[in-house]
Subunit: 463 residues, 2 copies
Amino acid sequence: MPFDDQLRADTAPLYTDLYQLTMLQAYWAEDMHANAVFDLFVRRLKHRNFLLACGLEQVLEFLESMTFSEEAIEYLREQGTFDEEFLAWLSDFSFTGDVYAVAEGTPVFPDEPLVEVVAPIGEAQLAETFLLNQLTFQTGAASKAARVVQAATADGTDRLVADFGMRRMHGTDASMKGARAMYIAGVDSTSNVAAGHAYGIPITGTMAHSYVEAHDAEMAAFRNFTRQYPDTVLLVDTYDTMTGIEKVIDLAREWGDDFQVRGVRLDSGDLAELAKQARARLDEEGLDDVMILASSSLDEHKITDLLEQGAPIDGFGVGTRMGTMADQPYLDSAYKLSGYDGAPRMKLAKDKSNLPGRKQVMRLFDDGEATQDVICIAEEAGDQDGTPLLMCVMKDGERTEAGRPRPLDDIRAEAARQVKALPERLRQLDLADPPYDVSISSALENRRDAVQANLRDRMNLPA
Amino acid sequence: MPFDDQLRADTAPLYTDLYQLTMLQAYWAEDMHANAVFDLFVRRLKHRNFLLACGLEQVLEFLESMTFSEEAIEYLREQGTFDEEFLAWLSDFSFTGDVYAVAEGTPVFPDEPLVEVVAPIGEAQLAETFLLNQLTFQTGAASKAARVVQAATADGTDRLVADFGMRRMHGTDASMKGARAMYIAGVDSTSNVAAGHAYGIPITGTMAHSYVEAHDAEMAAFRNFTRQYPDTVLLVDTYDTMTGIEKVIDLAREWGDDFQVRGVRLDSGDLAELAKQARARLDEEGLDDVMILASSSLDEHKITDLLEQGAPIDGFGVGTRMGTMADQPYLDSAYKLSGYDGAPRMKLAKDKSNLPGRKQVMRLFDDGEATQDVICIAEEAGDQDGTPLLMCVMKDGERTEAGRPRPLDDIRAEAARQVKALPERLRQLDLADPPYDVSISSALENRRDAVQANLRDRMNLPA
């Protein structure tokens, strides 16, 4: 049994919450096949000034593979909850709906739909869990990584950021999709070889303490490793950082003109102080080209702190705290019904309401800088100023031109361009004051109030 | 292209940090094939009194599938970093080592090895990333879930806990392995259908707000859903919780003796207050059998708070905060070289040192209650009191009898038994004072001091 067989394409639609399937059967039994509109959005941000949309490609792949194998149907049969006639219908099931989405790498804000699904209600419902699972995590990872990249390059210097998070990210999928998301957000490389293979992300790595320890002397380890990899990065803190630096200097003397070591990595202790001492010693010996890389529980705050102390660090290996989004390990995402059978719908429950009907987000620019987003009714978008963010990426279950897979480097470049177009205060780590201006068009506001009043009326609830 | 093809069994060993592969080649080039000992352990706990070991089964599956396909080798060739002779050697690679591990579902403490790998150093190194990735996450998820289950049943009442976390957990693998880990920790069911299929975990679910909203009236939704699923759980807060409860009462009158609705779910508002009001109204109408279930941003603290307020809640749907381990989204796990070629090794770097050599953990009991763990040298375990926790689960790359896959329900029952054997203060949410007693045998202490002194001496470092 291969270790990853639990999630296979032929049982992909089981990748859902049970209630999606029981509701699907109920809709089927009630002959409710009319189109619903569901929007996926984030209610509020914590510790973030913006989100970077990510995960759409995997969502579209999933929607294309939403068919039930014999094995999947047999498993459902065993539950005793599903009728034979429904299971027969399921064996011909596929996703036939339309999808509107913000392009990957686009900055988005609370209440703005990242995705709108327009499909027969049961289909749209069945897709919910996977869409939330992927978009919540990938958007969360990209948004966190954007901050780390921002911190590492805040003074305009192009310092490297490598994703070292694989070992403590939440399982295999997180480390794959996370590597992709963080690369989109501007991270330069990943240590995850499988992600390099799957997505073409540059892979990087140095050496581990265990390699040094396995040798009788640190010098022997450095000597042997550089013999194999002349332009490698040497890890210098296994025993004592500055002693390790002296070994690198000895090695440079041994190699003479052939010395090609690209850098040293500091992984413990007072990184700012050690980086300064290391830089000074390396420079004294004419080793100005040897970069100083740092790792060890880094995140955007620690990086900022190091750079504010004047630490001469050229690149950062950032692992667990970025990869697990440790300060905000989930987004407050939602996937809500906003229309059914041509009529707008919404939820009244306190703090959990949503905007009814199909929508569009218009982004307004002033001299190239984004100044305001307006969430409006989809049909009024043509009359609004600005650039529409939602595009039709799938029509009747088939990708449109806009939904075609895009080269990852294009997405990454576009993300960089769009983040740069945000107001300066949003690209700081502190919460922007004022936050970015997201307004609701008056037509949409009127619709929301009307739907709300109508619902309260129908349900005999106080206004 | 199936949506999950990025991690396939035939490219499994690429699922690693690049440096593991470059070190593997260096060891190969240096003819360093002697056995190394690596231990995987957690340095310290935050917000937890114990960990529940989880993930070993997936680790063994991975070690059994660590072979390089043509495709994997071709990808490595493209990197320009690997010699042809090494790539030829890789094409015959497999894991040939021994593995000692604590059984899944065993409570463990800081510094105690969850796994020790004894294998030719390059092999042991190559396994590091996957082992850390799976054991860190799964042990983290099980440990968090154990607290939630503890909170839900603190007064001895057997309340249900369902895993509703799939939608915001970090990707697909997290929601699969997480469902498994949380089930081992005592969670009763999962909403994740694929996890039910893969692992045989009971699957549960209710209905979504969207189902209610898609109907013209809440009553029509309740009526139709119970026609399909007579013993379902109805979600009552879409518009107003107590109005929803009255609808359930109306429905009970309609159905008369045939009324079988199993419960109602509250998902917003003041859950304690609403549960009391709902219980009172249901009881007034003779609906004592209708359970009250609650969901909405729950974790162990919120559950404790609800129960302390006397909320008559029979079960909890616990999602994001448990599934993302929101208060501690990663464990401070490490995989460290502790021996090579028969000699103990360790790292000196501050706060990151480890215990040298092969070890055993002995758990001492007093009248069935665990009182102390002693970490000792493996060879002295026979002379120590207590029950050894580490077992040989793989020998020469093959599973031993102790390493055979175990039925999930057996692991779960054993976990419950072992958690119950912990001192009462450890099964509280607050940090235990004093914490559990984990000692190091004097022989192991002596070895650590000797290795440390020897290293400092050899490296010319101050003591």
